[in-house]
Structures are given as C-alpha cells and as structure tokens.
Amino acid sequence: MAHSPEVIAELEDKANLVRRNIVRIFESSKQGHAGGTMSSVDIVTALYFHHLKLDKNNCDWPERDRVILSKAHAAEAIYAVLPEIGYVSRDMLDKYYAFRSQFQGHADRWCTPGIDYSGGSLGQGLSFAAGMAKAEKIHTAIHPPTVQVTTANYPKLILKYNPAYRVFCIVGDGELNEGQNWEAMMFAAKYKLDNLVCIVDYNKFQLDGPVEMIMPIEPLADKFKSFGWDVREINGHSMREIIDTLDLVNNLYGDGKPKCIIAHTVKGHGIPVWESVHLHYSRLEGTTIAVKEGREIYG
C-alpha cells in the first residue's frame, strides 16, 4: 500500500528536525564524523519515526526491533533521534564526546539507552546483527509463539506471522572492505535469517578517498546476491523509496532470505560545505562554517 504524500512530507520534516539536532550536536562538540552521519539521516529517520517496532516507554522491551549501527562513527545521526523518542534528555545534544556523557564518541550500548550495539571497530556489526537475528530464530524454535501477531494488533505489517523482532543493520560502504562482513553474509544466508535487514549507506567515499579507488566493492548488489541475499537498490535520500522498500522487504518475511538494501547516498548530505568535499570528519574551523550553514537551512 502506497503511503500518502502527507506521510512522506511528515517524515521529511522529521529528517530536517534530525539534521537540526545534528547541527546542535556539532555546535557544542566542534567536531565529529560529519559525512557519514549526514548521509544516513534519511535512513535513520525512516527507521525510527516510521518503521521500527519500539516502545517509547521502555527502550529494553524484549520484542523491540534492533538497530545495529555497524558504522558506529555515525552515531550522531541516532543521537539526534533518541531525545525525540524520549530515551535520553534533550540536554545530551550538547554533551557529545563529553566526559561521562551518554553520547560517547562511538555508539555505546553500555552508556546510551536505545543503543543496541557498541561499535566503532568496523566490520563487526553485520555479524552482531546476524547473531541477534539467529537468537530470535533459536528463541522461536525453543518457544514457538502461542499467539499469532495479526494485522489487527500490529497494523503496519501485513504478515501471516511475525518474528518476535527484526534486526536492522546499517553498514558503511568503506567498512565492506573488512572480510568479516562476508563471513557474516554466508552465516546469515546459511541460517535463513529473513528477520535481518542490512542497509548499506553507500555514500561512495571513505576516509582516504573514493571507495572505488581505495578498495572497489562493485558489483556490490551482485556480490550480496551471490551470497544468497535478497537485494534492493534505492535512492537513500528519497523518503518514499526508503519506506516503500522497508515495507516491501518486511512483507517478504518467510522467504528464508536475509535482506539487503543498498541505499545510494551522498556524503555530508544536507550541509553544502560538507557535501562539496565529501567530508569524512569535521574539525574545529570547518565545523563553525557548517554549523552556520546548518542553522540557516534547518533553523
């Protein structure tokens, strides 16, 4: 079922709110992983404000959908969302990188309510997501569900039956250089983890330069397919494409295939000064210009 233009417009507003929060984060921290944060904003917004099964009053709800931010340096994108859900106080937006802050340099499960994975060492998130998805399968095998979840009590999903939870893993394109991703892909296909969705934030740049020069990963869709995954390619900045594709792969649950959404994005998207140079990490003086630009655009 196609979503109405109002739903799309509302989510686009939310994405701009997330960008505004990110600008506020950078205003106080003065530095951070700008490029990969901005490229993932629309994906993160679609997940948290539209797609995920969450309990706003309980970030540890056992049946919540999991989000594994494998590219944990882009934590600012999720940090910008968490106060809007109510998992952390809004003051935290001014405490990124700070000592004893809930907003650590990289996403940290131990410190931050609503964060499912402590990342930062690249290439491990997809394994962790696959492990969580496998855990759901083992739980279900040991304790088969007695109550079938129907569209009535969870109307967003049109399913014959549902997993207890789904796992969404956001990986960067550069981190696909790590061999462990491909171990995890084999594992996910072997165990038919159709409750796992890997979203590649394909912004085409890594720290040293363009992905195609540093370590080419193409043909990426074919690689995932050959590993036994269901693959979709989308524009990662089109809200409609993102939510339609998330709904689509949800409805494929039961086909025994892990899902991959390759989201073509732009590094630094939404802040012209970052976008123009595909910036990976913003430092002091550059941040001041970016924050000024961000304030003008997002208020």
């Binding site: 060492s121 491990q124 394994s127 696959a130 492990g131 969580m132 462990q180 171990e183 165990y191």
Partner: protein
C-alpha cells in the same frame, strides 16, 4: 611423601579433557540457555547437544572473527554462548572482536581453548602467549585449572558466574596428577595453598602444579620445606594469598606453561614489588615460540627443552633461596 593441606590427595595422572566434557553435559542441563557456537573445531559436550538440543548448536565454520561476534550477540539476547578452538584461533584471530563485541559490554560468553606450548602440532598451534595476551583485557576472567577435579569444578563455576570467561585447557600436556579430593571447594578468584612451606614457595598454574609437586618431593628429600600455591584463577588474581606466602618464605618461584613475558610470573612480580618484597625466579617459556613434539613420548623432552620440568623447578627454588639471602630479606 611431603605433607599436603586439606582437600589434597595426590593420585595418578588423569587427563583433564574428560572433565570438561562431563562438566559441559552437567551445565547444559542446568542452563537451557547455553548455546554452542562452533568454529569447526568441536566443543566439549558436543555429542550431548547433537542428541538432545540440536537447535542450540550454531556452526560458524572456520570464521573465528564472525564466531566471536555471533557469540556476543547471542549473549546480548540472553543466551550463554560457548566458543571453542585452539587459542590462536578462537582468541588471537578474533582478538579485537572479543574486545569490542564481547568484553566492552561484558557479554556472558564462555571461551574455552586449547592453549599450551607443548603438543604435536607445531609453532602455529602450540601457543606460548595465551595467558599474556588475555591478562591485559578488562572484564575477562581467566581460569587455568591444575587437575581434572579442579577442571570440572572450574568449568561449572564459570557458567554460574555471569560474565565473560576464558577457560584455558592444556590438553596436549602430559596429563597432570590427580591433585584434589572431590570435596575441594573451588572458587573463582581464590588461590589454594596445596602445601605450606617455610623455605620457599612455588606459585604455579595449570599443568605446572604437577611439576611443582614432583619438585617439592625432590626438595623434601634434600631437607628443604617448600610450599605450593595453586593459581587456577589467573585473573582476578588472588593477591592476598600471594602476599601471605611471600611474607612466609620471601623466596618465590613462579611456574607456568607459557611465556614469562606478561604471564603469571609477571603478575606475581607486580604483587611482590608493590606489596611484599621477595626473591623471585620466573619459570616459563623464555622469549621464543614453541615447536612440535610427538605425543606423548617426546613431550617430556620438549618440556625439559623449555626448562619447565621438576628438575628445573628444583634449581630455580635453590636460586630463589640464594637470592633471598643475598637480598637479606627476612621471613615473617
């Protein structure tokens, strides 16, 4: 025969492998949330799982990096995952994965590994740095039992404890003596004085406790009363017990089946230099890798080559006593 403390009854050599097997079957029935995460290298108690709980087997293949993180994730979801292989693979190949995806969040993963400098497999598999490379990792408990009785008890205690544990198995070593009685009360973090002594103390771990017992018997005949402190929890280290024996004898020999750089010897040295000055001689593998030796005939030869046998310990004890006199250290 020297006089040993309570719960010690020296018996014939008994392999520890069977103890882990027995313990795994026991704990797997007690904890229905144990899952075995395989890395194509088997697992103690695997046959029981195949027969009784195949849904709790997760095979990752020869992909230890993935295996370690899968285990962390399963622990995050309430399972007690076990990973097992040779230590070079399960730990060293996945060192950062264990750090990042298990230890950082204290996930309740149990790591068991074949880890010893002696064996038939050669430099790749016979590891000297197993203790040294894990001791520095925060949030990790490290166990290294001395005999089959302690191995079974430690294995069960590891599962009762909530948090990441590394359980070291010196499988390929010559089997250790049966040392403890069945009612020996094992506790994580507690060292146990197998024998008291007034002239010197051997602080040993794992199979080297057996060599320490042999050494003490030789020294007894020469008129020296030497104690043995069994360190089966490498971390957290029982500093109190070490200080106690150090004050009693002021002559300490550490004995371990691994490198002396960063191992038990260095851990004890830190305690002594900070809290209880004593003469120290570290016995272990010097700064070198291992090599293969045919099981079991040549392993003793390899052990002697590394200077890890009873007769090396005898020499080291005398050296420690001489140092004590030279340093003019006074016993309590």
């Amino acid at each position: 025969m020297a006089k040993y403390n309570k719960y010690v009854q020296i018996g014939p050599a008994t392999a520890t492998a069977g103890a882990a097997e027995t313990a795994m079957v026991k704990v797997s029935q007690k904890y229905p949330n144990i899952v075995v995460v395989l890395e194509d290298m088997g697992m103690p108690g695997l046959e029981w799982f195949k027969k009784n709980a195949p849904e709790r087997i997760v095979e990752c293949g020869i992909a230890e990096a993935n295996g370690a993180v899968i285990a962390g994730a399963l622990a995050a979801e309430g399972f007690i995952p076990f990973i097992h292989s040779f230590s070079f693979a399960v730990i060293e190949r996945a060192y950062n994965q264990i750090r990042q995806s298990i230890l950082v969040d204290r996930f309740n993963v149990k790591i068991t590994a074949r880890d010893a400098p002696w064996g038939d497999l050669g430099i790749s598999h016979d590891i000297v740095e197993g203790i040294a490379c894990t001791r520095c990792l925060p949030n990790l408990v490290i166990l290294n039992p001395a005999d089959a009785v302690e191995a079974e008890k430690a294995y069960i205690a590891m599962v009762d404890y909530v948090g990441p544990v590394y359980f070291r198995m010196e499988y390929s070593a010559p089997a250790p003596y049966k040392i403890f009685t069945e009612d020996y009360p094992f506790e994580i973090g507690k060292a146990y004085a197998i024998k008291d002594g007034k002239d010197a103390t051997i602080i040993a771990t794992g199979y080297l406790v057996t060599e320490a017992i042999k050494a003490v018997e030789i020294l007894e005949k020469e008129g020296l009363d030497v104690g043995i402190l069994n360190i089966s929890t490498i971390k957290p280290l029982d500093e109190e017990a070490i200080i106690k024996v150090a004050e009693q004898t002021r002559a300490i020999v550490t004995a371990e089946g691994g490198t002396i750089i960063g191992g038990l010897g260095d851990a004890v040295a830190s305690v002594l230099s900070e809290s209880a000055p004593a003469a120290l001689v570290k016995v272990g593998v010097e700064d070198e890798f291992s090599q293969s030796a045919r099981l079991t005939a040549e392993v003793d030869e390899l052990k002697d080559f590394f200077g890890l046998g009873a007769k090396d310990l005898v020499i080291s004890v005398k050296e420690a006593i001489a140092k004590r006199e030279q340093f003019k250290l006074v016993r309590k």
